[in-house]
């Protein structure tokens, strides 16, 4: 059975503050060389999905630049491949508010696609999953919609409990709460923003939502229809990293310093594909002291780096000290500068001797391109 993929690139944009000021959630940098969308795209491609639509709304220039023609994911194809679906705003509709409305822009893409099943996914959860297993369960159970879930008891305390569901004995979802305050009761599961649904039913849902003016997939479709259609949960067993606010973004990056999670995400389930930059291997100079850190290609390190993540092309001059920080692409840290508990966006320049020190609970964020 063939599937096609639809990725919502802008959902949760407002939760990452400065990091999403000029970029979509999907193109938020992660883990030293990736963008969040890389994980969803790689999972889809590794699950033999060859047709992927990316629904965009705003700030999608960096995303388009990242995706190119899809060749890094082998999605540059004659039949199928990668489709960017910008807002469908002709006629009376405007830029969409929720996923249901967003899907109206994908109607043409869906109509012309061959596969019978659709995987819908957000980009804010980093994980490795084979959607083929989920589809098998979907077909076997006779569900109308299958929702990927994780037991609340397995989630980090800080993760925002967004869509919380409970199932009956057969696994059918019989209770859906959005942002409840008492989430972690026994049997509570959180939805991970991934759904499998037949193309036929999805088209009907999109059509109904248009005529009834519904916008929110979780509230207007899942919550309202749970008694009418058979919505079931499928539990994800592997590790997940939820990027739902800035603190969790910070923690979610630091999680990659744990060898087990790192290998589970990047090696055990095959490589994660991303745009290549043809950088030189990282150079460690005479005064380099690196501990418990992730270092990308193109970095030149001549200072101290501890418990930190350096993206591609970061330069750390002699005597500089970086601790507990995330430093993005092409940022330069001057001599004897001190960076602690901070997130430095791309192309930031820190002059010699400067100090940027944040709090571990609330890391300081420097926006793209600033010079200190």
């Amino acid at each position: 059975m063939k599937m096609l993929g639809i990725i919502f690139s802008n959902i949760y944009d407002n939760q990452l503050g400065r990091l999403t000021e000029h970029r979509a959630m999907a193109s938020v940098p992660y883990g030293g060389r990736y963008r969040l969308i890389d994980f969803v795209l790689t999972n889809m491609v590794s699950s033999s999905i060859t047709s992927v639509g990316v629904i965009t709304k705003s700030n999608y220039q960096s995303l388009m630049d990242h995706l190119g023609n899809g060749s890094e994911w082998d999605l540059d194809r004659k039949t199928d491949g990668l489709y960017i679906l910008p807002p469908f705003s002709s006629g009376q509709t405007t830029v969409y508010k929720g996923k249901l409305e967003a899907l109206q822009g994908a109607v043409n893409f869906l109509e012309h696609a061959m596969p019978d099943y659709v995987v819908l996914s957000d980009t804010n959860i980093v994980m490795r999953i084979d959607y083929r297993d989920m589809l098998k369960a979907h077909i076997k159970s006779g569900a109308d919609i299958t929702m990927l879930t994780k037991n609340c008891s397995e989630l980090d305390e800080d993760v925002i409990r967004d869509t919380i569901v409970r199932c009956d004995e057969s696994g059918r979802i019989n209770d859906v709460r959005i942002l409840p305050t008492d989430a972690d009761k026994e049997g509570d599961k959180m939805g991970l923003g991934v759904y499998i649904i037949s193309k036929k039913l999805l088209m009907k849902i999109i059509d109904d939502s248009r005529s009834y003016g519904l916008t929110n997939f979780e509230r207007d479709c899942i919550q309202r229809s749970k008694d009418i259609i058979n919505i079931r949960s499928y539990n994800h067993e592997g590790s997940i990293v939820v990027i739902d606010n800035l603190n969790n973004y910070y923690k979610g990056n630091m999680a990659l310093l744990d060898t087990k999670i790192n290998r589970e995400l990047f090696v055990k389930n095959g490589p994660v594909y991303t745009k290549t930059r043809d950088e030189v291997p990282a150079k460690y100079d005479e005064y380099a002291v690196v501990k418990n850190s992730l270092i990308a290609d193109g970095c030149v390190v001549n200072g101290t780096v501890e418990n930190s993540i350096l993206f591609r092309g970061v330069k750390v001059k002699k005597g500089a000290k970086i601790t507990n920080s995330i430093v993005m692409q092409d940022t330069v840290i001057g001599k004897d500068a001190t960076i602690a508990n901070a997130i430095l966006d791309k192309e930031v320049k820190i002059s010699d001797n400067k100090m940027i020190v944040g709090d571990k609970q609330y890391p300081t964020i420097l926006a793209k391109g600033v010079t200190i």
């Binding site: 990659l256 060898t259 994660v272 690196v290 418990n292």
Partner: protein, 396 residues
């Protein structure tokens, strides 16, 4: 408009590279890994595209499978063109004959039809076993300015080393009047880099004549260049200034790798306007754990390091375990160096496992006579057993 290419490149990549021993047992020399994430051929291929040459014929013969696979459709180098691009040219059978490439000139001769398809004015002949960054378009401008029939790139080498190279004796105007292959008493220090630009009409004629001569060994240096000089054609030397290294031997391959650690090297790999491209295998960032000490080294992505690395080149996906020591060595991709193992002055091939307590290579100080000491080599996919010792100069 009739489609033509002004200049195309032919890259000789068929050499066995027997002096690299175990490293080239199952792959051609141009495919040997270099500098942590590259293969030797990346330098010439990248030079081509960075010089505006988007049509490259790669002549392969010895163990071509990995090389063919690596080059693929040329996408990593931007050499995937509808018209032009990179082409693998292996020897093939013709209606009357079927032969291997007999020599460098014969290899080009057998592909005259390929070149004619593009109807170029100029052809650059390159070899796939040198490490250097060079803008061939500057050399082509020189070739045109001199209205030369052939231009040979030369490098000023130290006088005492000149007898190891093909030496060009030139006039003040850079015109070549004599070529000597490895002369015992060199008259000049201008050594050929194995980079030639020919005006195609001329080269075509000399290739056909050379083929008719049964005595000829069908080699550019031995036959084509001398024949053109004898006939009084215009041959010029183009002086290249910069880093260039032949990596045909274990020692020179090791040295060239170590050269990358020198900040003053006159070859900047990180120049964004002249990148060296390579096929990329999507590896995560390197994870440096507590207790690791990494200094004066180049390290590619996908590694996990808990041990000590000094003055070394570590390629993609290596694992350096606790207490392991790497010194002045090259570890190719997928290598595992287990706890307490030592690797010093060594080239370690791809996917090698060095077990606990093993010692690979020896320090120069362990030998009284410096000539007895040398770099050791571990071939691809080998396992060095616990506490095993690999001596200096040894190849396993």
């Amino acid at each position: 408009m009739l489609k033509t290419k002004e200049c195309i490149a032919m890259l000789l990549a068929g050499g066995q590279g027997s002096r690299l021993g175990v490293l080239t047992k199952h792959l051609a020399k141009p495919a040997v890994p270099f500098g942590g994430k590259y293969r030797i051929i990346d330098f010439t291929l990248s030079n081509c595209i960075n010089s505006g040459i988007d049509t490259v014929g790669v002549l392969t013969q010895y163990q071509p499978l990995l090389l063919n696979d690596y080059i693929g459709n040329g996408h990593p180098w931007g050499l995937n063109r509808n018209y032009g691009g990179v082409h693998i040219l292996s020897p093939y059978t013709k209606s009357k004959t079927a032969e291997w490439y007999k020599g460098t000139a014969n290899a080009i001769y057998q592909n005259i039809k390929f070149i004619d398809n593009y109807n170029p004015e100029y052809v650059v002949i390159l070899s796939g076993d040198h490490i250097y960054k060079m803008d061939y378009s500057k050399m082509l401008a020189f070739h045109k300015e001199k209205q030369a029939d052939c231009t040979i790139a030369v490098l000023d080498v130290p006088k005492e080393e000149a007898s190891r190279f093909g030496i060009m004796n030139i006039t003040d105007d850079n015109k070549i009047y004599e070529f000597e292959e490895k002369p015992p008493q060199p008259k000049s220090t201008k050594a050929s880099m194995g980079v030639y630009i020919f005006t195609w009409d001329k080269l075509r004629k000399y290739l056909i004549e050379d083929e008719e001569n049964a005595e000829s060994s069908n080699d550019f240096g031995k036959n084509i260049i001398p024949a053109m000089l004898d006939a009084g054609e215009n041959l010029y030397a183009y002086l290249f200034e910069g880093y260039w290294k032949d990596v045909g031997t274990i020692d020179s391959l090791w040295e060239a790798n170590m050269d990358l650690l020198n900040d003053d090297l006159p070859m900047d790999l990180s120049d964004k306007k002249f990148k060296i491209f390579a096929r990329n295998n999507s590896n995560p960032c390197t994870l440096i754990k507590d207790g690791a000490v990494v200094k004066n080294s180049l390290m590619s992505e996908g590694c996990i390091v808990e041990g000590n690395v000094n003055c070394s080149i570590i390629s993609t996906n290596c694992e350096i375990q606790k207490g392991a020591n790497i010194l002045y060595s090259v570890i190719m991709s997928g290598g595992v160096v287990e706890e307490g193992a030592t690797v010093q002055y060594a080239i370690v091939g791809e996917n090698v496992v060095i077990k606990k307590g093993a010692v690979v290579g020896q320090l120069p100080g362990e030998y009284e006579n410096a000539d007895d000491w040398g770099v050791c080599v571990v071939g691809n996919n080998r396992v060095i057993e616990e506490n095993q010792k690999v001596k200096s100069k040894e190849m396993v």
